[in-house]
Amino acid sequence: MTNTQPYISIRHLQKGYKIGGEAISIFDGLDLDIPNGDFVAIMGPSGSGKSTLLNMLAGIDRPDAGELRIGNSYLNQMGEGARASWRAHNMGIVFQFYNLLPMLNAAENVELPLLLKPLSAKDRRDRVRKVLDLVGLSGRERQYPSMMSGGQQQRVGIARAIVSDPGLLLCDEPTGDLDRKSADDVLQMLRFLNQELGKTIIMVTHDPEAAKYAKRVLHLDKGNFVEEKRAA
């Protein structure tokens, strides 16, 4: 990849599903470029393809046709094992419902992605401590998800997403289950990660307030981007 190339490039992307024997097309020739260090919010009505696009960007679903490149990796050409390895090293994901493992405490949940890296136990602990400190959860390492508020759990989710220091952060409705105050805290944190640490962030959201934190807002409808706004 040269410096002039976008970090994420989607060309002629096609994706469809079969439901009850009927073929339904989600994307039919989608194109999209996202430069490195961007913070993009993707909005759109239910069924517009937001989650499908996010799944393909995360490498957990494959396009039927077209090209999907992130950095130097062509996800559309990679098998499942290669995509899993790519996710472990290049991407962090933040879910709407946090998706923390209930039997692990905060530190253990955050440490999970590091188990896939050749790090010593001490290095892993140091990194976990650092990111928990970054998301404002110092001192809560041993708390289990059931003992935390939604906002705190989401911060653990963010810490888990960034602990491997990935270049790309995908957020699937990260504030969808939070009150306004907690949502703003989480969004401030995402903005910090984008502006201060240079993470490329793609956030799917229904919330126009959340979208305001992004640098760009893309509106998706029936598998096509119909509007793009630059943040103020």
Binding site: N55, D61, S85, A88, H89, N99, L112, L116
Partner: protein
């Protein structure tokens, strides 16, 4: 945190279910341990030698052989030492207190299996003091509370004296300990001359000859030689190793080995079905989390290993508890019951633990491995 810790945490997330599974496995391995220990102990096969050969009538161990065979067996160049014995089975005081007395030539017995039985020159000398003296095995002595110098009367089931009475009086001259705790010492040793001279029938016969081949001689080849010697005689012989001999003796009553295999086989098949069923449900409950782990980059292979590790842990803990309980049972039961937990049983149990752990985890692990992330996320 490590993946093995993650497997442990997964295992204990529903403690009641895990404890019940562990109990289930422990009971299965307790059954296996007890039955296998019973076979090993009661047949004495754990301590029985492959090198000591027993010669009995081909018609069965209850059919006597002429003692005249002794000379022909002794003359075989491949035979190092030969002993003989007549089995006198009976009871002491009450009919359910069954004892077995081997009437033998003590010096010959000493030469053939003295070290294995723990016979010493002092014991043999003590036995030689009078014809009605008896050496008692430690297990038999302990079970009856017998001490040296005590007089006992064995009422034989079959061998009567010339006056028709089946009571045989003996004086305990010593107690032999056996080479190890697994040696069968639940019997006594008497003088052949005393029993032979006094019995009404079958004089000058023996129940069996026991012999030890010369060094370097194949016991199985010698067995063929011995049987060939008497192939055309009135009483042909069957020569077997001590181990085969004891197993054949037990088979007169029942094929204990087959019973053990059937009982443990049924227990393990049931166990397998219960645990596979439980693990499939446990993994199905966790499909969403498996999707999360895969999203974080955990490979399919590692997901499979996580589930396999979980079932293996259940089997290792349950199997370990079952074997520990078996050991406890063998200690508490004492030698009279004849339970012997041998290293071979532990090795076999360990192999079964490993195989069943993998077998029961295979299907749920395969399901977990194949679950697509997208469909895993739909399960919430």
């Amino acid at each position: 945190m490590t993946f093995s810790k993650l497997a442990r945490k997964n295992m204990w997330r529903k403690p009641l279910r895990t404890v019940l599974l562990i109990i289930c496995v422990a009971v299965a391995f307790l059954i296996y341990g007890l039955t296998a220990s019973f076979v090993a102990g009661s047949q004495g096969s754990s301590a029985a030698s492959e090198d000591v050969l027993g010669v009995t009538s081909v018609a069965g161990q209850s059919q006597p052989l002429p003692i005249a065979y002794l000379g022909r067996i002794t003359s075989q160049p491949d035979v190092e030492t030969v002993g003989y014995m007549t089995r006198l089975r009976g009871f002491v005081e009450t009919e359910n207190n069954v004892v077995s007395v081997s009437a033998t030539d003590p010096a010959r017995l000493m030469a053939v299996t003295g070290p294995q039985l723990g016979l010493t020159p002092v014991l043999i000398e003590a036995l030689g003091g009078a014809r009605d003296r008896l050496l008692v095995g430690r297990a038999l002595a302990n079970a009856n509370g017998w001490i040296v110098g005590q007089r006992i009367t064995v009422t034989s089931f079959q061998i009567a004296k010339q006056d028709g009475i089946r009571n045989w009086r003996f004086e305990i001259a010593g107690i032999f300990e056996g080479e190890s705790t697994s040696t069968d010492t639940y019997f006594a040793i008497a003088h052949y001359d005393y029993v032979n001279a006094s019995r009404a029938l079958a004089q000058d016969t023996v129940s069996a000859f026991i012999l030890r081949p010369r060094a370097g001689v194949s016991p199985s080849e010698l067995a063929v030689q011995i049987d060939a010697l008497f192939a055309n005689s009135a009483t042909p012989t069957r020569t077997q190793s001590e181990k085969q001999f004891l197993e054949a003796f037990m088979r007169q009553y029942a094929d204990v080995g087959m019973i053990v295999n059937l009982v443990t086989g049924a227990a393990f098949v049931t166990l397998l079905m219960i645990i596979i069923n439980t693990m499939i449900f446990a993994v199905r409950e966790r499909r969403f989390e498996i999707g999360v782990l895969k999203t974080l980059g955990v490979s399919r292979r590692r997901i499979m290993m996580l589930v396999l590790a979980e079932t293996l842990l259940v089997f290792i803990v349950g199997g370990g508890v079952g074997l520990a309980l078996t050991k406890l049972a063998t200690v508490l039961a004492g030698p009279a019951i004849g339970l012997t937990l041998t290293p071979m049983i532990i090795a076999k149990a360990s192999a079964i633990i490993f195989i069943l752990g993998i077998a029961t985890g295979a299907l749920p692990a395969f399901n977990a491995m194949r679950t697509p992330i997208v469909s895993a996320f739909r399960t919430r």
